[in-house]
């Protein structure tokens, strides 16, 4: 029983980081129908920048904030390349973001080298329901929940958020009422950059990141976003948590090396099982 609780708690902690990266995919896809492949690279940059800034340049808090903002700017650049040209089809935009993520990889190797980097985070560990968890992981869970609440409020309550939702659900009608759909798309990319950066800043203290981590990060985030049909933040959160718990349970009760297979297989199964629903949703 205590084992089970420990796996559940660490699964939730892991799943929160999946959900946070997944939220970046959701924000961009909701507004622009583009899948931003560079989402994983943005998280890596977030971790790297915060490691450099916290190394004597800025105090805790400010360093992390600056890293998140820098990633937001980088996200905007990705957006300019991906959707800056009018009439770029989503498939081409996806491949452009694949190219940008490779450029970011080159920059990361140039600036930080090939070795994994890990910024300082909260030290020590805390006991939760009898299971011991690193305090930093609890911070990830808290920050993720906060980010999702903020995101939901932003999309449903604020004027800009409503304009973003409008551009997503009907670009033509949104343009009719004077919403600049392209600018909204760029805003979504910047927001996704910040979310990716936040994920990197939070995850990197416990799991060091290198230029090589962009692909696993992007895939786990995408897997979480698939649960939400790439449009729903709430279901992305649930999907991320489910994936994290399933992964930890597999690692605990079966074999640690099956963890990747299980997460990826779950993602494929969900995509396949929900294919009819997705088609229905997109037809609307």
């Amino acid at each position: 029983m205590r084992e089970l609780v420990a796996y559940l708690v660490s699964g939730i902690a892991l799943g929160s980081s999946f959900a946070l990266i997944g939220s970046g995919f959701v924000v961009v896809h909701r507004v622009t129908r583009v899948v931003n492949f560079a989402q994983g690279s943005l998280a890596v940059v977030g971790g790297m920048v915060s490691a450099t800034l916290l190394d004597g340049v800025l105090p805790h808090g400010l360093g992390e904030l600056a890293a998140v903002l820098i990633c937001g700017g980088l996200g905007l650049v990705v957006g300019l390349l991906a959707i800056g040209r009018r009439g770029t089809p989503p498939l081409i935009s996806l491949i452009v973001t694949l190219g940008v993520s490779m450029l970011i990889s080159a920059a990361i190797i140039w600036l930080w080298g090939q070795d994994p980097v890990s910024p300082p985070g909260l030290a020590g560990s805390t006991a939760v329901l009898g299971a011991t968890v690193e305090t930093q992981r609890l911070l990830v869970v808290g920050a993720t929940l906060l980010a999702f609440v903020a995101l939901t409020l932003f999309f449903t309550r604020s004027y800009v958020g409503k304009a973003l939702t409008a551009s997503a659900s009907n670009p033509f009608a949104a343009r009719m009422v004077g919403i600049d759909v392209r600018r909204m798309g760029l805003l979504a990319f910047a927001l996704a950059g910040m979310l990716g950066g936040l994920a990197g800043v939070l995850v990197a203290p416990t799991n060091a990141v290198s230029f090589y981590s962009d692909l696993p990060l992007a895939l786990s985030g995408f897997a979480a976003a698939v649960f939400g049909g790439l449009t729903s933040p709430l279901r992305t959160l649930l999907g991320g948590l489910g994936l994290g718990i399933a992964g930890q349970l597999t690692a605990g009760y079966l074999n640690g090396s099956y963890q990747t297979e299980v997460a990826l297989a779950l993602m494929l199964v969900i995509m396949i099982a929900r294919s009819s629903t997705f088609v229905h949703e997109e037809a609307k």
Binding site: L98, G99, I109, L219, L268, M271
Partner: protein, 334 residues
Amino acid sequence: MERLRRPSTYLTALACVAAGLAPLVMNDLTFLMRMVMAAIVVTGLSLLMGYAGQASLGQGAFVAAGALTVALGTTRLDLPPLVALLAAPVVAGVFAALVGLPLLRLQGHYLAFGTLALLLMVQAAMSTFDFLGGAFGISGIPPFGIGDSIFVGQLPYVYLALGCLAVVLMLTHRLVHSRFGRGVQAFAGSETAAESAGVPVMRSKVVIFSLSAMYAGLAGALSTFFTPYVSADSFPAVESFTYVIMAVVGGLGTVWGGVVGAVLVSVLLQVLNTVSSQPGLPPTAGPIMQYATYGALLVLALLFMPRGIVPTVDGGFDRLARRRVEARAGVSST
């Protein structure tokens, strides 16, 4: 007379002569072999991206399926090499159809991520399960041969691969200009219009996806006979991304785009490799230059030449020819 003036007839003949002579004059046959195999894979990927409108970021999964068929077939089941070579595309094609049937029904980018997930799962399975190679990989694959004649040295393999490439290109050409191909071109333009004209859109997409996987499986089989060792590290994700880059640079949905893209990108990478291994450069220069070139190629090609080299050049020739005809007509009328 007008038919002969089109450059493609000359170019095809020229390409055949160059391909026939290249193995005899080049020292680095490994480089040539890798290039030809990439061309086979990319020809299929270019069809998929050009016509089905979806990309596969994990075409390496099907290369791996072909390679595993040969490796397991020859070492565990004692299949004759020729049977293993022919079985490889079939296995890869069936594998793709099973995955493609549900994923291709989705709009958007599910196929791209689905195939990437598939590739990573294949990698993970290959390094976890011992019967798929495990930590040590599969070695002891016999050389290719038919009956008692067995291939010796690298040269026969290069010609075998070139022969396979020729078959793949002819098949692709026939396909694009067949009734099926016209249907596929129609739904690449508008799915709804094609569907109402009676084109079975969904089935055609699965066929194209399966076919692209068969090409990949064939390339995997060839590479396994050429380098008789297969492990999880033989199919890195970056290689699958390289196929996408080659397809985009060459031109999507064209018969020759895959070959042109594969040759250009391979040569460029070879040059960069030579430059980055010069003394005096830091050891990170290689990966930095590789990633930067990949990224820059993709972004620049897509933003400034979104149709790829082959259609752009082809269109240029057409315009030139038309202008010449118009000029002559103008002279004779006055």
